[in-house]
C-alpha cells in the first residue's frame, strides 16, 4: 500500500473494513493522476464506491435554519399597513429625497425625508404615496430608484401615516434610478438624453439646412429644417417643423423638444410648443471643437445617422445602372474600410475613382448612414462631400482589403453592427439545431418542420451551420458559423459530417459537439448584427483556441501575486 495515501486509506477502511487497502490506495491514485482530484476531495466518492450507496441525503433540504428566524412582515401595498405595524418589508420607488440637519439630544444629526410610492413595477397600476423619514440616513436611497425596505415601521400622526426608516432597517436597491428626475427647464447633456420624451438642451448649431418632407398621399410637401446640435458630451440631429433661422455656430437653449428615435438614431423634434432662444455662455465650446465629435470610425456607425464625418479607404468601387420612370440612372457603390472594420458605401453622383487607383483614402463630410441587413452603408449624395487624401492617417502598410479587427466581445455586444471583426470568448452553449439544416429556396430562412414562415412548405436547400452562444463573463453573443467555418472547425468534410450525424443521431451528435467545445475558448471572425434582442455574430471562420493550463496558472500567479 502506498504510504502517500496512508491516512486517507485508513479513513476509508474504518468505514468499510472489508475493502482491500491496495484497491483503495489505487483509487486515490487514479483520482489524483487521471482526474486531478486531490485525495481529500476524492474521499467521499471513494467512500461511496466501497461502501455502496448508503450515505444519507445531503442536509440541504432538511429545513435546518442557519439564520435567525425572521418576523418581518412582507407587504406589497402601503394600504395593507396599520398605524402600529413594525418590522415590515415593502418595495417602493423613491419619489423625492431631501436631507436636513437636526439636533437630536444635543447631537447634530442628518436625517432624510421625502416621498415614496408603492407598487413600483406596474406601469399604470394603483399607487399610494407616503412620506418617509430616514433616520439612518441610508446612502443608497436616491430619487428615482426602486428599493426594498426591510424592517421599517409605520408612524401614524393625526390620522396621517408615514414610514420610519431606522438605522437597523436594511435597504436593498432593486433598480437604480434609471429615470433621472429632472426638473422641467433643467438642461440635460446630449449624450445622456432618453430615447424618447420631452427634454431641455443647451447646444450649439453645427449644421442647419432647409429640407422638405413630401406627403405620401401626394397632397404636397412640408417645409422643414434639418440640422445638428452639439454640446461637450455629444451631438444629436434635429428636425424642426417650424422655421428656424439661427446660423451655424449659434448657441441655443431649447425647451420642450421631443426626442424620437428613427431607426437606431435618436433625433430632436422642434414643434410649435418648443421654446427656442439664443443662450449666452462664454465657456461653451466653439463649433470647431464640437464638430470633432461628428468624426466617426466605421465601428461607430448606426443606422439612420446623419451629418457623419469619417476618414475611410475605398477598396472596391463599381458602377451600376437601373431604370426609374423610364430613365436610365446610375449608382456607384463599393467596399470601404478603416482600422476598426469594413462596410459599404454608395454614391448618387460620380466620383473620380478608377479601379487602378484603388485603394483610395477619402475624407467624408456630412454623409448619412443606412443599414442593409445589419451592414452599415454610407450614402454620399453629392461629390463635394468627398475629399481625396494623399495618404491614410493610419499606418499605410495596413492592408484593409481583408483586414479583420480583433475586438473584445463586450465591445461588440454593446456597439453598432460591424463587418470585418473577430473576437475570442468561451463557448457556453451548443444549440440543438446545430448541424444540417434546410433553408427556404426563396429567402434562405431556416425551415421549421419543412416550411418557411414566409413562403410556406418547400423542399429547401441543405446547408450546414453551428448555432452557439459565446460569453466573456460580461456579455453573451449568439454565434452562427457558416458551412465552411463549421467544417473547418470540426475538421470534417461534408460527407464525414453526414455520416457522423447518421451514426449518432441528432441529439447525440449535438452532445458530441458539447463534449468538444463547451467551456472552451473559441476565436471567430465575420460580421455582427446588434439590435434590441442582443448581438449576433455571423462567422465565416472559427477555430478553438489551444491553451496550456499549467502555463496559465503560472501566469496568473505572477500577475496576481498569489504564491
Amino acid at each position: 500500500m502506498s504510504e502517500k495515501y496512508e491516512t486517507h486509506v485508513k479513513s476509508i477502511l474504518s468505514e468499510c473494513p472489508d475493502a482491500d487497502p491496495d484497491e483503495v490506495a489505487a483509487a486515490f491514485e487514479k483520482y489524483e493522476t487521471e482526474f486531478f482530484i486531490p485525495p481529500q476531495d476524492a474521499m467521499r466518492s471513494i467512500l461511496r464506491r466501497f461502501k455502496g450507496d448508503k450515505t444519507p441525503a445531503p442536509s440541504g433540504s432538511s429545513g435546518v435554519s442557519s439564520a435567525a428566524p425572521r418576523t418581518t412582515r412582507k407587504v406589497s401595498s402601503l394600504s395593507e399597513l396599520k398605524g402600529d405595524d413594525k418590522d415590515i418589508e415593502i418595495e417602493v420607488e423613491i419619489i423625492s429625497h431631501n436631507i436636513r440637519d437636526q439636533t437630536i439630544r444635543g447631537e447634530q444629526k442628518q436625517i432624510a425625508f421625502g416621498l415614496l410610492e408603492d407598487n413600483p413595477w406596474e406601469e399604470n397600476g394603483q399607487k399610494n404615496r407616503w412620506e418617509y423619514k430616514d433616520w439612518g440616513p441610508n446612502s443608497n436611497i436616491t430619487p428615482g430608484s426602486v428599493v426594498r425596505i426591510e424592517g421599517a415601521s409605520v408612524n401614524e400622526y393625526q390620522g396621517k401615516m408615514s414610514l420610519n426608516i431606522n438605522q437597523s432597517t436594511r435597504i436593498a436597491v432593486v433598480r437604480e434610478g434609471t429615470r433621472p428626475i429632472t426638473a422641467p427647464g433643467e438642461p440635460q447633456e446630449i449624450a445622456s438624453l432618453p430615447s424618447d420624451g420631452y427634454v431641455c438642451v443647451v447646444g450649439r448649431v453645427l449644421a442647419s439646412r432647409p429640407d422638405q418632407i413630401h406627403r405620401k398621399d401626394g397632397s404636397g410637401s412640408i417645409d422643414i429644417v434639418r440640422g445638428r446640435l452639439a454640446d461637450d458630451s455629444g451631438t444629436i440631429g434635429f428636425l424642426s417643423w417650424e422655421p428656424l433661422e439661427h446660423e451655424v455656430g449659434t448657441l441655443l437653449k431649447i425647451e420642450g423638444a421631443q426626442v424620437r428615435t428613427f431607426r437606431d438614431t435618436p433625433e430632436l423634434n422642434f414643434g410649435r410648443t418648443t421654446k427656442i432662444e439664443v443662450y449666452h455662455d462664454k465657456n461653451f465650446s466653439d463649433a470647431d471643437t464640437l464638430s470633432q465629435q461628428t468624426v466617426l470610425t466605421l465601428s461607430e456607425l448606426r443606422d439612420g445617422a446623419r451629418d457623419v464625418d469619417a476618414v475611410v479607404q475605398i477598396t472596391e468601387w463599381t458602377k451600376r445602372s437601373f431604370t426609374r420612370d423610364g430613365e436610365e440612372r446610375f449608382l456607384w457603390s463599393g467596399q470601404i474600410a478603416d482600422p476598426t472594420g469594413r462596410c459599404r458605401m454608395s454614391a448618387w453622383s460620380e466620383l473620380p475613382i478608377t479601379e487602378d487607383k484603388l485603394p483610395l483614402t477619402v475624407r467624408l463630410k456630412g454623409v448619412r448612414v443606412r443599414a442593409w441587413q445589419g451592414i452599415p452603408d454610407i450614402t454620399v449624395d453629392n461629390a463635394d462631400q468627398v475629399e481625396f487624401l494623399d495618404a491614410p492617417p493610419w499606418d499605410s502598410e495596413l492592408d484593409l482589403t481583408n483586414h479583420t479587427a480583433e475586438v473584445e466581445l463586450f465591445e461588440l455586444s454593446t456597439g453598432a453592427s460591424r463587418v470585418g471583426v473577430s473576437t475570442t470568448a468561451t463557448v457556453v452553449s451548443v444549440r440543438e439545431d446545430s448541424g444540417f439544416i434546410q433553408r427556404c429556396t426563396e429567402c434562405r430562412r431556416v425551415l421549421r418542420d419543412g416550411a418557411c414562415a414566409e413562403h410556406g412548405p418547400n423542399d429547401g436547400n441543405t446547408d450546414i451551420r453551428l448555432r452557439l452562444a459565446i460569453d466573456d463573463g460580461r456579455s453573451s453573443v449568439s454565434l452562427l458559423t457558416n458551412k465552411e467555418a463549421t467544417l473547418s472547425l470540426l475538421g470534417m468534410t461534408e460527407t464525414e459530417l453526414q455520416d457522423t450525424v447518421n451514426d449518432l443521431g441528432q441529439v447525440a451528435f449535438v452532445q458530441s459537439l458539447r463534449a468538444k467545445m463547451l467551456g472552451k475558448t473559441i476565436n471567430a471572425s465575420g460580421r455582427t448584427i446588434v439590435d434590441e434582442q442582443g448581438a449576433m455574430m455571423l462567422a465565416d471562420h472559427a477555430a478553438m483556441v489551444d491553451e496550456d493550463a499549467g502555463l496559465r496558472a503560472t501566469e496568473i500567479r505572477a500577475q496576481w501575486k498569489v504564491v
Binding site: 425572521r70 436593498a172 491553451e547 496559465r552
Partner: protein
C-alpha cells in the same frame, strides 16, 4: 440612451463552489420573465455559471407530483455544488444525466463541466440555499478541468480586487464607477456590501491557491491529510478520558451535525446548538462541549462563530 435588456441572454460567470454556495442574497424582478439572480459575497450577480468538478453523487428522486428529479453534487477544490435535473431539462441533458447515473453507480470517476442557471430557495426559517440547474453539460478530461480551474481562479481574483477596490469607494453607483469598477460588477457590489457586511476573503485566496496548484500539476501541494474519522474517535475511549458516555455522546452528535450541515464554509454556532437541543441535549452542555471540541482540535473556526471539522 438605454434600451431594454430584458430579452438578452444573461452572461455566465466562472466561479468556484465556495463563492456560490456561501451566497445568501438573491434578487428577482417582478415580471414573469425577469431573470433571477444569486448575489455572492464578492458582488457577482449570478444568473448563469460555468462550473466544473468531480461528480460525487447523482441519484434519482421521485417527487410528490410524480415527476422525476435527479439530484447531484459536484466537488471542486473549494467545495460542493448541488444541482438538479428535472423533466423541464432538455432531452440531451436528461440523456446525459441517465448515462452519468450509471457511471456513478459503478463508482466510475467523472469530471463534469456544466453551464447552469443559478437557483435559490429560502426555508420558512429564513435560511437561504443555492443550487444549480444545468442547461448543458459534458464530461471533460483532467486537462480541460485544469483550464477551467485557471479561468475560475483568475475571475475570482478579479472579483476580489473589485471587491476590495469598492471598499474604499463611496457606496453609490457613481462612487463605484469613479473607483474603476466595471459595469457588470456595480449592481452586485452595491447590494452585497449592504447584505453581507464585512467579509473575510482569505478563504477564497486559499481556494484559488489550491486550484492553481492543481492546474500546475502540483498535486502534492494540493493534497491534505485527512483527520481520523469521527466514528473511530467516538469508539476510542482513551481519547475521551474523564468524560462519561453522556458527554461523549454530545460531542459525537455535534460533530455529526457539523459534518452533515457543512456545505463548504462551516456551520454557524447558532445552527449547531439549535440542532443539538433539538436532539435532546442541554444547551449549556452542548455549548461547553463545542468549546472543548474546538480546543482539542477536532473542530476549527475558519471564521468567528463558524465551525468545521479539521481535515
Amino acid at each position: 440612451m438605454q434600451s431594454g435588456t430584458r430579452s438578452k441572454r444573461q452572461s455566465a460567470w466562472h466561479m468556484l463552489a465556495s463563492e456560490f454556495s456561501e451566497a445568501t442574497l438573491n434578487e428577482k424582478g417582478s415580471g414573469e420573465y425577469d431573470p433571477s439572480f444569486v448575489i455572492t459575497k464578492l458582488g457577482a450577480k449570478v444568473n448563469r455559471v460555468v462550473v466544473a468538478g468531480l461528480l460525487e453523487r447523482l441519484e434519482v428522486r421521485e417527487t410528490s407530483n410524480g415527476s422525476t428529479l435527479y439530484q447531484g453534487q459536484m466537488r471542486d477544490p473549494s467545495g460542493v455544488h448541488y444541482f438538479s435535473v428535472g423533466d423541464y431539462a432538455s432531452e440531451s441533458m436528461r440523456e446525459l444525466t441517465l448515462s452519468l447515473v450509471e457511471k456513478t453507480e459503478v463508482g466510475e470517476p467523472v469530471l463534469l463541466l456544466m453551464v447552469a442557471k443559478s437557483r435559490w430557495y429560502q426555508t420558512d426559517e429564513g435560511a437561504v440555499y443555492t443550487s444549480l440547474r444545468p442547461e448543458e453539460a459534458c464530461e471533460i478530461d483532467a486537462q480541460r478541468y485544469a483550464l477551467w480551474l485557471t479561468r475560475a481562479s483568475e475571475d475570482t481574483l478579479q472579483r476580489m480586487k473589485h471587491y476590495s477596490d469598492s471598499l474604499a469607494a463611496e457606496p453609490t453607483r457613481e462612487g463605484l464607477v469613479a473607483a474603476g469598477i466595471p459595469e457588470h460588477m456595480i449592481d452586485g457590489l452595491l447590494v452585497s456590501r449592504n447584505h453581507y457586511g464585512d467579509i473575510d476573503v482569505e478563504t477564497y485566496t486559499l481556494n484559488v491557491m489550491q486550484a492553481l496548484d492543481i492546474a500546475e500539476g502540483r498535486m502534492d501541494a494540493a493534497s491534505q491529510p485527512v483527520a481520523a474519522p469521527t466514528q473511530t474517535e467516538s469508539d476510542d475511549d482513551t481519547q475521551s478520558t474523564g468524560t462519561d458516555s453522556d458527554e461523549s455522546e454530545v460531542k459525537d452528535t455535534l460533530v455529526s451535525i457539523i459534518e452533515q450541515l457543512d456545505q463548504g464554509d462551516g456551520v454557524d454556532f447558532e445552527t449547531v446548538l439549535t440542532n443539538a437541543v433539538a436532539r435532546g441535549f442541554d444547551r449549556g452542555l452542548a455549548e461547553e462541549k463545542l468549546d472543548e471540541l474546538s480546543n482539542e482540535g477536532t473542530l476549527h473556526e475558519p471564521r468567528f462563530g463558524w465551525f468545521r471539522i479539521v481535515g
